[in-house]
């Protein structure tokens, strides 16, 4: 398969931000991804839902090669990232990632958390990196925490800083790996609010989440995964309200009852 017929770039149609085809991934005997086809369009917000162990986090982590897929293709803006000659570091610097457990650098202040990759990877000057950091801290509403250390922030604040850190690299797209799952319930809202604002600004987002309300309100498309395959996908009002498949219905019922 040549790149020209996988990117769908005929007739000036835009190249999707992420296009995954026939993706397989195993951990030992555990076949986690069993042939995934998946697209995220430019400026699209896609929420991936599904029971734990369905492979949704693994799929997300394959997109910036934190996990190496065994088989299949992953095209980021039309370029095959599984190519052995691909510059993984450059690729990753264009894809923002937000983790379930925040993963802020505890030995660095908030400002340094936001500037270190700008300086070391983007080679920005101290002044420019600081300027970008201030701008992004303001976006997540934490300008007053610029000199704080991560340990002195609440979970919700840490996750907002983590989002600002990813944004400071001016990424073309953002990946969210269960960004609110490690938070106390009362702190979930502030993080979702930041993500909502990001979506309304037109950021391309792939979000693995258990927040059905967020998926319903913000997603352009919802993808339901179970046992390593995409069971069904579509607009949130269809997938979350009137799904075609039994497995989707059962999952939604469990989540609603939970």
């Amino acid at each position: 398969m040549g790149p020209s017929d996988t990117t769908g770039a005929q007739d000036g149609a835009p190249v999707p931000a992420i296009r995954i085809g026939g993706l397989h991934k195993s951990f030992g005997d555990n076949h986690v991804l069993r042939g995934i086809d998946f697209v995220v369009g430019e400026g699209e917000v896609v929420c991936v839902i599904g029971p734990s162990g369905s492979g949704k986090s693994t799929l997300l982590r394959c997109v910036n090669r934190l996990e190496e897929a065994d088989e299949g293709s992953i095209l980021i803006e039309g370029a095959d990232i599984r190519d052995p000659d691909a510059d993984v570091d450059l690729l990753r610097s264009r894809i923002g990632m937000v983790f379930q457990s925040f993963n802020l650098f505890p030995h660095l202040s908030v400002l340094r958390n936001l500037t270190i990759a700008q300086r070391r990877v983007r080679r920005r000057s101290e002044a420019e990196a600081t300027e970008v950091a201030r701008h992004n801290l303001a976006r997540v509403g934490l300008s007053d925490k610029i000199d704080a250390y991560p340990a002195h922030l609440s979970g919700g604040q840490q996750q907002r800083v983590a989002i600002a850190r990813a944004l400071s690299m001016d990424p073309d797209m953002m990946l969210f790996d269960e960004p609110t799952s490690a938070l106390d319930p009362e702190l979930v809202g502030e993080v979702l609010e930041v993500m909502r604002a990001l979506a309304s600004e037109g950021m391309t987002m792939m979000v693995v989440t258990h927040e059905m309300g967020f998926a319903r309100d913000v997603a352009d498309r919802v993808v339901f995964m179970d046992e390593g395959v995409v069971v069904e996908e579509g607009p949130p009002e269809r997938i979350l309200v009137a799904p075609e498949h039994d497995r989707t219905r059962r999952f939604l019922k469990v989540v609603a009852d939970g």
Binding site: D89, F99, V121, A151
Partner: protein, 259 residues
């Protein structure tokens, strides 16, 4: 008898017997003889100021040199041990096992006498000291540093890589600084051990100007047939090591607060 009263009685008996032993020893020992042989003020006075200006200074300089060398080499070895490249790992493993397994004295001998015999070169004494002690220190520190690096959560490397940092850059900017914070206490322990191990350096044949504390004390002990120099030198060691361990306790508490 209640449990508590019995405990109190047992403890009282222990204290009483300890005091009895001390009193008995004092009665048997010739206190005057002890004082003349261990606490001779006149001999102690002749040791100053050289015990501080030469011997203690040398001990500190040798320790600092060996520690710096050992830390640098230990870091390289730790990274080699964690490498995905087999030969690097094997080399580091063999190095660590060999130099932790050999007595430090033997390694110092090997550097001081083996290298001149093998290569027909005689290195300056400071180089011999740095190598002799540093080679051993590196083996111990490599394992400590490795443990520190491994104690940094995996998510830290993932976050750094997800921002586009190379593995090496992530190690240098994110992982190693955090690893070192974790190992400040064990590293200080290595430093204190190293201070004491400088007492082995006499085998390299130190001159009056290059004597460290133990050699300095022993030479006076031999010349005067009196043990007082050992007491003085011992006190100087404690003067160096105790503030050091206290300083680290303070740093550790501050670190714990910052986390």
């Amino acid at each position: 008898m209640t449990r508590r009263r019995r405990q109190r009685l047992v403890r009282g008996l222990l204290y009483a017997s300890a005091v009895a032993v001390v009193v008995a020893l004092a009665a048997v020992a010739d206190v005057d003889l002890l004082r003349r042989n261990f606490l001779d003020r006149e001999i102690a006075a002749t040791m100053f100021p050289d015990v501080l200006l030469i011997a203690a200074r040398n001990t500190i300089v040798y320790t600092a040199l060996a520690f710096t060398f050992g830390l640098a080499l230990g870091l390289v070895l730790a990274l080699m041990r964690l490498s995905s490249i087999g030969p690097y790992r094997w080399f580091a493993t063999v190095y660590i096992e060999v130099f932790r397994g050999l007595p430090a004295l033997l390694t110092i001998f090997l550097v001081g006498f083996g290298i001149p015999i093998a290569f027909q070169v005689r290195w300056p004494i400071l180089v011999q000291i740095t190598l002799g002690l540093g080679i051993v220190a590196a083996a111990y520190m490599a394992e400590t540093i490795r443990a520190g690096i491994e104690a940094v959560p995996r998510g830290q490397m993932e976050a750094a890589r997800s921002l586009g940092m190379s593995r090496g850059r992530a190690m240098a900017s994110i992982i190693i600084p955090q690893g070192f914070r974790i190992i400040v206490p064990p590293l200080t322990n290595e430093l204190v051990l190293l201070i004491k191990d400088t007492s082995l350096l006499f085998v390299l044949g130190t001159t009056p100007a290059t004597k460290e504390l133990t050699k300095f004390g022993r030479d006076i002990l031999t010349a005067r047939a009196n043990a007082t120099p050992l007491i003085v030198v011992g006190a100087v060691y404690l003067l160096i090591t105790i503030p050091l361990t206290q300083l680290v306790a303070v740093l550790e508490r501050r670190n714990a607060r910052a986390r």
